[in-house]
Symmetry: D3
Subunit: 319 residues, 6 copies
């Protein structure tokens, strides 16, 4: 089997003022890489899974920086589609500590990924023996119509190949409306074996009040898409999951010192999926997800540069 | 109206080892700007108020650095008095996290500001229509006799113009004795509409024991200067205020992660005054003050580079 | 008179790896500002001229960085047009020393400046008493049709107001073809009092062989647009100029150590125009231009952060 | 008396990625100095004690860096043994915040210190009038057989000179087995006036379960070596000590923000020994130890660059 | 064909003070990678050749840094032999500008590469169809007896597979005597199709006076090993080559600004070999070598991070 | 003999923008140490001479930084006079490459050194056996009347002790007038065995036209003070010296790449004096002076951090 997980998404150059400086006052920017699927791919690779990350990038130093960084962290980038045209998306990211908010200034208009076409995906990827799972998020269908078509195409091919499907709703208000999102993610959720949603996305996309008990949220989304194991992330409240049979599992968040407040969502799904693919119980997969999220927050930058040894120790330490 | 607030004070070049290094071991220093009134001016400007900061500076790269930084943050510096002589004050500042103390090595001897003369203040500033408030602190009268005379002159002209007066006691032990301070701040406090004092200054300058209940402290200082709204800052205890009619309002400090332990006093008065000038209640002004102080502590450097959006969100989150 | 010179052009955030590192290997980028007209504006301001720089920028930290930097260097930016939409152009710039070439990766698609409209220009700018000269370059008309229309509109209004016109051909191959350029710059050159062109642009745009003697190049372009004083820049060969009466003046380049190979064109025109506006001879203006270009090359970054004292000393040292 | 304390140990160049970056992703490394005995020496010197640090180093920039740093912090390095051969040990250290672990990649094979011979120690050091105490740790005997012999030689000479002996068990699993350690530290503990051991070393070296009450641990080790004052460090639990007469003293850890998780052990012994040598009670010495450890954690790098003023204030603040 | 060139050699972590600081005063070190064969491999990869670099490294962050950097620059590192033991060699390198000398403090004792054994080389590498050339240098046989045996083994297998052989004498005085070197390189030179030697190595290893005309040097070494095309590098004097038939070709050095004085030898052989493998004339290959060396000197760090576009332009510019 | 050379002068903290940035735009400053006598002391120490540097400094982190840096480079600072009062002088230094000028913004008002008193000099320094030479410059007498008195006192005691005297005219226009300088340096020059003067100081202080042949300059100053060996430094023209018998020796400057344009004067005198004290010929001492100056220019910062090996090689290479 070539890969445990195949994923598709946009990679952004993340430019961040050092030492929590304000973007408004920065005189230099550290170069990092960002992107929810890329982040999950890195986390999975660091936990020993083989991962293929597919994207479309402009062939210039910024585009090459993205693949060099990801492959340096163990992610397979051989099927990235390179173009001479378009541009590489950039996010100017201001890291912060509470009570300051982090700020993200997305500059991804006309990005190469937003112009990806289904027929650019290498057909050789989607064979039954090549992978066990396709992981997608709600960001790719929101990027553009071509990106949506490509994500749907990948989904179709993966399902045909008999792979499992993981989907993270990951609603981004600056990319589409909540109505569009609800409709847009439907085909993906309908095919999902594992589905991730955050509390605030459940509120925004499905109108489920933030005061609703977590289990009720899970029951509601599971009523729509009952074939999936549902994972609801609660930020500082940890995470809660629902098996197909309705059983509920909870896990508190782990205590951590924040060096960066971004990227913990992608780290969570990496931790959860790595464990899930190993066939552990949903309860244990939640532990891996929460531990990975905590470890990520204690790591500078956006990517889930986890350490398997650290993570194992943390998970074992959870009572 | 040209400005909401006019303020007068010394601007210092603040040289700080990066990454909380010790001054004794630093190999490089980050350049920042410091000064209580400049700090409040920046905070007010970031919250949308128009502010004039008046000072006297030597016309060299260090002096120009101060005005460039302040005007880049929205403060009007057009009435700064430039001289070819004297020098620009410097503070070598060691930032620290608890239980280490921050260290400030002041090097302000013979500074241009300590030699300011009343007749150097542009007469055109002090007209009734030009501003709503003059903000001063106890640092300027403590700097030197000429600085004291100039502060008194500004006070007189502001009162004549019908502006309101804000005064922050801000006692500095390395500049004058507590006896001199008590006498020195008297004319300013007698004219103040709003007066700020910290718990430890109340102890040092007025001999009010630190064990005395906060309300008793307020009642005592208000007995001396009953015409002012008094605000007593309590550090991690938040702040407490007393209306002229004796009513007491309290506000807890907001939880924050410290990136810098300096400048929160200036941020507090900026938050309080911005709200106060908007005509909100003293209770609400305390919220703005405490939120601004918390936001400042989560911001590197000395200046109150606040974000109005963040601050509004924080204030709204206070129960 | 409000301004000596008014100019209009795009401002870019310039992101550069420190210490001449390769973009392909950079891990951090220094933030600077770039743009030919902005550069000339900075140079003029540093030489004591009052300059208005007009542009259109997205109101975000990157856009504000551009105006903060320029106004910090003495350029008036009050008529910049701010928008919530579009984006701020970026140039990833790799500095280099010979025989390495500098690299510029322009990322200015959909920039706010490319969508400027003539009616956004403040009408109050173009009065006879407001300025002495309008300075434009061939970059703005090349950016987009709206930018071209706006530049033409500014030209028309300036001519009506009786200002003099300076124009720098500044051909950019990635923005338009040489044929389009030749046609596009025509209205500007027809109105120019001073016109700048580089040797290689004379070759590309007007087909004048690089082996043609410099004087012949000048005579040819002057045949097309005889009303202008023509300045031909020759890189390491210095510069040569032609008065309207056909008289030729030459100036060798000054020896310098390169800290940055970009921005010397803008510095040259700043030096030349500052002298020209002071009414010195063309021969002397060439000296100022060449000295400013040399000083710029010895200065890091893209902007002509000149020092008038240095420049005067250099010009006086030219035999 | 030449020195309050003489100590002997390895000095390492400590190379650390800035800003808590991962070693796997670092592009630059900050140079610091590491070594338990060097660290204690620095702490003692900063608290006003005169300290001689003896070691063996290769005479190259890295070796000289170590002595320059230590002598710059007040430690006497005049008896360091310089060689043209061997190498200077290096530790690549990854700092971290919880729940990430710090990582240390020791690269000390064939170091100059591991090849020190007893007869290289200057005989002039060990006279009765020269010092009051010899401080050693379990690291030096673990380094190599020559290092062990040299430590034993120093011990013998110190005892003959009538100095007191301090010994910190400081077990390092990568240098020797727990069985070897138990035997190896025996001669040092038999001679010790003060002995330090951590909870986890008590477990590893003496098989005392981590669940055993701290006092029981102390009683057990004191049964083996009853002539010593025993100090058991408990990490976040503070420290507990046992006088020769069996009296027990406890001290909670002080609250602190961690800038570095290494070096607090050496800081603790510096604080404890500085007080102990001043003749204060064991209870008070524990306060100095715990306060020094807290202050160290709030200081970047590995060395106990303490400030006596800070420390005194902290100790006085302990109830 | 899997690779154009296969090479074998040690990879070192190169730690360098930024901004040409002295090692004796450095407070931080930039991490780079060094090693003659690695350098040539990078240069070849940047010029479009496929290259396999074989080495033995300890599996820790420093070892992984080396392969990550090389593969990020396009070199295939899949056959690197990883071990849990030994250490990664380090070179503390002080860059300098004339007349200061660069300094290299090699710390490679007990490195993993010095303990490589012939049977650790993957047998699958050396098939006739896998590669066109083996490139070795005199450093590897000098490292240790096991390294020498492994280099001899690789040579034997490459010759059996019908590959061509390139050998760079590259004498290192700190690794072996000139007598040992002369004997040691013999088997490699006897098999070489292309041989590189510097003027000073010709002097040291073969006793050929530095005053001897370059052609005489070439004739002498070619008398020993007549089957090779010989290239003699002359530093600022460029290079000179001798065809098997005795024809001599010369190329002057290109003018350049030095950002780093190391690595130009490896860049030269990369440029020469890339052209040579393309079948150009020896005269043209010399141009490529000299241009690559010049470009390298204008690039920070040790590695030949060349740009093919730059290099082509430079070569075309050589008259 | 305790010291080869004793010197007395001010030590300044030198704050410099990295990477040749302009002071007007700096955001950080590198900390270095400056001072002509300190610089010569460092150069002498690096060349193996024992040197005592005497000064008066405020006991704070900046003052301690100066002695720590100097003693780290081998200079004896045990007789520095420490005070709790006054301040440490600062120079904000802008490094530059030609044709930009370096800029120095001196901020030394009220410095501790300017208030040194003769009786603060330790009497134990000036014994016949303690040193061979006293080195002074014209900067110390220019600082203040107390500094002048102290320098005169040191001169008197050194002469009484039978030491030789070296004096560098080193005129500083911002400290005194040329008339005051001419008178002020007289007692020092009258006692000098070796006297240094630069071409421009000969012009400013003694009115000797810059067009006057160098030998004529030497003859003129030697007519005033015939007892001294006179050395005239000519910048890029090298140096020329005159023995007491009138014999003239010349030495061209060595070619170098400039990393810093300051400190070469102090490096020159260090090189010259080190050789002179070794008893070499004046011709050879000039070689050492010029080589040291060239090496300094290739070294970042202000101090003559020379390398004896490099210097010896350079001197040997001079034809």
């Amino acid at each position: 089997m070539a890969w445990d997980v195949v994923t598709l998404g946009e990679g952004l150059v993340r430019l961040t003022p050092p030492a929590m400086r304000r973007l408004d006052e920065a005189t230099a920017l550290d170069i990092d890489v960002s992107g929810s699927e890329a982040n999950t791919a890195v986390g999975l690779a660091r936990l020993g899974k083989s991962v293929l990350w597919v994207s479309r990038l402009t062939d210039n130093p910024m585009g090459r920086h993205i693949t060099r960084r990801l492959s340096g962290l163990g992610v397979d980038t051989q099927h990235v589609i390179w173009t001479e045209k378009d541009r590489v998306g950039v996010v100017f990211q201001e890291d912060a500590v509470p009570p300051r908010s982090t700020r993200a200034l997305y500059d991804r208009t006309s990005s190469a990924m937003s112009r990806i076409r289904p027929n650019e995906l290498s057909a050789s990827i989607f064979t039954p023996d090549n992978a066990r799972m396709l992981h997608l998020t709600g960001i790719t269908p929101a990027l553009s119509s071509p990106a949506n078509n490509t994500a749907l195409h990948a989904l179709k091919r993966a399902v045909e190949a008999g792979w499992r499907v993981s989907f993270d709703v990951n609603y981004r208000a600056h990319l589409w409306s909540s109505d569009d999102a609800r409709t847009g993610v439907e085909p993906f959720l309908r095919a999902a074996d594992v589905a991730f949603i955050s509390r605030s996305d459940a509120h925004t996309v499905y109108g489920l009040a933030e005061s609703l008990p977590a289990q009720r949220v899970l029951d509601t989304v599971a009523a729509y898409y009952p074939q999936a194991v549902w994972v609801l992330t609660l930020g500082s409240g940890g995470a809660i999951a629902r098996e197909r049979d309705g059983k509920i599992y909870k896990q508190d968040a782990l205590k951590c010192t924040d060096l960066s407040q971004t990227g913990s969502g992608g780290a969570f799904s990496a931790g959860f999926l790595a464990a899930y693919l190993d066939g552990v119980s949903v309860q244990d997969a939640l532990k891996w997800g929460c531990a990975a999220a905590a470890l990520k927050r204690a790591t500078p930058g956006d990517l889930a540069v986890l350490d398997k040894h650290d993570l194992t120790r943390l998970v074992q330490g959870i009572k």
